[in-house]
């Protein structure tokens, strides 16, 4: 291999092996050798990868192929016990390329973020509540009415800050949970009209403060949604919260749901200022990205809300994007499959099939007995 290419591969963080069809190591970068110490020109020092290569060579296994591998004590990377091996056909020649991802490391980081978010949420929420309570006692202990109002207003500001902090921590926690590969398994039945109205109602205080009206528009004949009410509620909340940040004062945010080609299309439309190129609109969906408008206006938030919302929608089989038809007209579009998820082929549960077979036999027996009784009495 070209020395420049070799140097490049050695800088890659993930492990990379090039293995011949006979199972011999032709190249390994430094990360790969730390995970699975092996010698060039000799068989790969891992039975599972050797079997993968052997299977692919014999045609029993089609590439690309992915397997999870538990590493033994030979691994030189501290705390790496699980890796994912991707077996690919080499772009040149007949060799195979094996890419190794250190899952333990990824799991460690995502678990650490999740733990941190939970810790901060718990550790901050309790002291904030206690502080609010203490300020309440302070307000009550003051005799002078003017002074009481003044301290009362400070208490209100502290409570609002606490609320904002809790909101941000909730977002961080959601981002960590979703990036951890959390599966959303709930199948709550969500009546769209009620759902839109409830989420708009939840944000009424923020809307009033910003002098903006949230206007839910949905008919009662729409198909329901099936999914996690809690997670979908967070997604819609983020879309509404984002719209509220950029809607001009004394404007309306129309939150509309329609049924279109098997999907529920929910649009959150606000008259936010300016024009944004399509590429930049897509970047709003990337974690920690903030648009220029957000930076200039020093709006709160760190580019977490919309990415979290997009991921939740994607996990429900839908999609979310920002559209802008004309200047000063931003629309967040959420599309979710209407009704229940389509069943996969052959979804009949094995237990159910066994139960059916057993009970059908009993049913036949019951019919035979009934026929015999009828025969003997006639």
């Amino acid at each position: 291999m070209n020395p420049l290419m070799q140097r490049l591969f050695h800088t890659v963080r993930d492990g990379l092996f090039i293995i011949s069809r006979q199972g011999h190591v032709r190249f390994a970068n430094e990360a790969a050798l730390r995970l699975i110490p092996s010698r060039l020109g000799e068989p790969i020092n891992n039975n599972q990868i050797a079997r993968m290569v052997g299977g692919a060579t014999a045609g029993h296994l089609s590439v690309p192929h992915i397997e999870r591998i538990q590493l033994g004590e030979e691994c030189l990377v501290a705390d790496a016990d699980t890796i994912q091996a991707h077996l690919l056909a080499s772009p040149v020649g007949t060799d195979f390329v094996v890419v190794l991802y250190n899952l333990t490391e990824d799991q460690f980081f995502t678990a650490a973020i999740e733990n941190l978010a939970q810790l901060v949420e718990r550790e901050c929420r309790v002291p904030m509540d206690q502080l609010d309570e203490a300020l309440g006692e302070l307000v009550a202990s003051v005799d002078d009415a003017d002074e009481q109002r003044r301290i009362g207003s400070v208490r209100g500001r502290v409570a609002a800050l606490g609320q904002q902090l809790a909101e941000q921590l909730g977002r961080l926690s959601a981002l960590a949970t979703l990036s951890h590969g959390h599966a959303i398994c709930a199948n709550d039945r969500i009546v769209v009209r009620d759902w839109l109205a409830a989420e708009c109602h939840r944000l009424r205080a923020v809307a009033m403060e910003r002098n903006v009206t949230l206007l839910p528009l949905a008919g009662d004949d729409l198909p329901p949604l099936y999914g996690s009410e809690r997670w979908l509620g967070r997604a819609l909340h983020e879309a509404l919260d984002n719209a509220l940040k950029y809607a001009p004062s004394r404007s309306e945010i129309a939150v509309k749901a329609v049924h279109l080609n098997g999907f529920l299309r929910i649009t959150v439309r606000n008259g936010g200022a300016g024009v944004m190129a399509p590429a930049l609109r897509q970047r709003l969906m990337q974690p920690l990205y903030r648009g220029r408008n957000a930076r200039e206006r020093k709006e709160q938030g760190f580019g977490i809300g919309l990415p979290v919302a997009r991921q939740i929608i994607a996990l429900h089989g839908g999609r979310m994007q920002i559209e802008q038809q004309v200047e000063n007209d931003f629309t967040c579009v959420i599309e979710l499959p209407a009704g229940a998820p389509s069943p996969a082929e052959g979804q009949l549960d094995l237990e159910q099939a066994k139960r059916y077979a057993r009970d059908l036999a009993r049913l036949m027996e019951r019919r035979r007995t009934a026929a015999a009784v009828t025969g003997s009495t006639s």
Binding site: Q347, L348, E351, Y356, L363, R366
Partner: protein, 129 residues
Amino acid sequence: MKKIILIVEDQADIRKLIRMTLEFGDYELHEADNGVGGLRMLEGIKPHLMLLDVMMPGELDGFQVCERVKGDARLASTRVVMLTARGQQTDLEAGNRAGADAYLTKPFSPLELIDTVDAMLEQQAAETV
């Protein structure tokens, strides 16, 4: 006269099993794989009983179909048995609101299915006499 049963269920396997079970009885069976299709068939066949899946993809789920059936005076005597994989309290409440006559929670047994269908049809016959 054979009693007419309409099965509205999106999963083909489950539809087949229901049909196989009900073929033990003397029923005229019809099938639809979604709510809209089921509603279209109602007008023509006027079933005595509907076996209606709750969770169906598309425009109408089981509760919405049930609501429409129960809201149509021409189908007042049609019994509706909801088939659900969920059996949650909120589902039972939604089913009651929609006017469902009975519930079968998946995976249900063929014996349970036959017994429920027979009981519902007897009740229906007694009321329409």
